[in-house]
């Protein structure tokens, strides 16, 4: 039971970090970025290349992953999303294709075999029978710190308030003097950085492989659909629902069903409550 509780909290914190970048784009840009999982893919491999292959310190590897994610987010906005205007379907199809292309690029550069990411912090903590790898603890703590920072940024800075404004009423934001293109570009950059960092931590939980962008994308879609919102608090709540469900099913029924419950949850909410559990459009 303690193991489930601890693992649930650790995994949920990571899921919240992973889903946050996706929900930000959904909230501010009003599109589903189906290449979101590719940030995790590229972030994970960037960390692997610099920290594991070239021997950079872990902090430098994490920082480089975030920078690459940021650049990817900006490039995606400038080269795909903005030229496509408000065409949601076009953006979604294009981003999905982009994810497949990036996966092929990773296969080309790193090969298609899985790679084990060494623990960012080696060692484990044993707590009354429960085993907690330091790497997982770091992933959860770092996720919480990043999310707290993001919450403060969105709530208490002019740029953060502008992001909220664009998400709630884009026209109201524009007539308040906000350049919505600039705010969208910033949001895509933040989303990329969050995804890339999430990718490093996610890979430290599992492993690096070219198809690793799919599972985080499903988790992110689940959080948006179940929450029905893009809010930070809402994302935290729903990420915990998904995280605890997965850990519980994995521990008590079968690990193979872990991802299945998330997909069943998506279908269930779509059928029973299409607007999601919260139904408020805010950050």
């Amino acid at each position: 039971m303690l193991q489930i509780l601890i693992q649930g909290f650790l995994l949920s914190g990571l899921y919240a970090l992973i889903a946050m970048g996706f929900t930000l784009i959904f909230s501010v840009g009003r599109v589903l970025d189906l290449a979101y999982g590719a940030y995790l893919l590229i972030g994970g491999y960037t960390y692997f290349h610099f920290s594991q292959t070239l021997g950079f310190p872990a902090a430098a590897g994490l920082a480089l992953a975030a920078v690459v994610g940021c650049a990817m987010g900006l490039a995606k906005f400038r080269l795909i999303v903005k030229p496509l205007g408000g065409g949601h379907v076009a953006v979604e199809i294009s981003t999905l294709i982009l994810a497949v292309v990036l996966q092929a690029g990773v296969v080309l550069v790193f090969g298609d075999s899985s790679k084990i990411l060494l623990p960012i912090v080696p060692g484990v903590e044993r707590l009354e029978g429960a085993t907690v790898p330091y790497s997982n603890l770091l992933a959860a703590v770092a996720s919480w710190i990043i999310l707290l920072g993001l919450y403060c940024f969105v709530r208490f800075t002019h740029t953060g308030r502008a992001m909220q404004a664009v998400s709630m009423d884009a026209r109201g934001a524009v007539i308040s003097g906000i350049d919505s293109d600039r705010i969208n570009a910033i949001t895509w950059m933040i989303s990329g950085a969050l995804g890339a960092l999430g990718g490093v931590f996610f890979a430290s939980y599992t492993q690096l492989y070219p198809g690793m962008w799919v599972a985080p994308l499903i988790i992110s879609v689940a959080v948006v659909i179940v929450g029905g919102i893009g809010s930070i608090i809402g994302t935290l709540v729903v990420a915990h629902i998904v995280g605890f469900m997965e850990i519980t099913v994995s521990a008590l029924i079968a690990p193979e069903l872990r991802g299945v419950v998330t997909m069943l949850l998506i279908i269930g909410v779509l059928v029973l409550r299409p607007r999601g559990l919260f139904g408020r459009e805010e950050i």
Binding site: H158, R161, Q164, M168, D169, G172, I175, S176, G177, I178
Partner: protein, 234 residues
Amino acid sequence: MAYLEIDGLSAFYGRAQALFGVSLEADQGDIIAVIGANGAGKSTLFDSVMGLTRTQGDVRLEGESLIGMGTSTIVRRGVGYAPERFNLFPYMTVRDNLLVGAYTAREDIQNNLEMVHALFPRLKEREGQETSTQSGGERQMVSLGRALMTSPRLLFVDEPTIGLAPRVCNEIAEALRRLRGEFGLTILIAEQNANFALSLSDRIYVLESGRVTAQGTHDELSDDETLAAAYFGH
């Protein structure tokens, strides 16, 4: 040269034309009313000046053309806009709605907040309330307040009295008078409630089907029996 010159302005939504060569002038400190029936093009005129529609023609503020500038640049040039549907941020507090308005005028936040609270003391009392829970009158005050937080020299106010109780209309009218008198703002008001507009304005433009069909002072327009019967109720 007038302070504001709208010169032969036409506006388009896709292929549909909504304004047909509208011209209008305002001197600094004027309150100008644009009256007309629903669908006459009043909101389109204001949207067009704000750069929110595709236009032809020119709009000059103190001789500088605003055409081709993005809306955020037009706001930075000192043009504020309180639109008919408010376009507030429903899950933000009153204070945060006002602070969003300060996005381009951060150095003036304290002075502008004091001005808004002096005009609408209720916004100070309810600064922690979400605007989604407010009455129409309070939302109108927040909308005006947000526009004032942009530090405007020129203020466009679209249908400020629509759906409001007479007492609230009087509060809004008083605030607009003070904005002109104490703060020197030039104000353009779009109104269906012609008598409200008349009580405030120096000059009136009548808009019908996207064209200016008459203009003048209250006295000048009252001499036209058709206009007087259509808009002024006498």
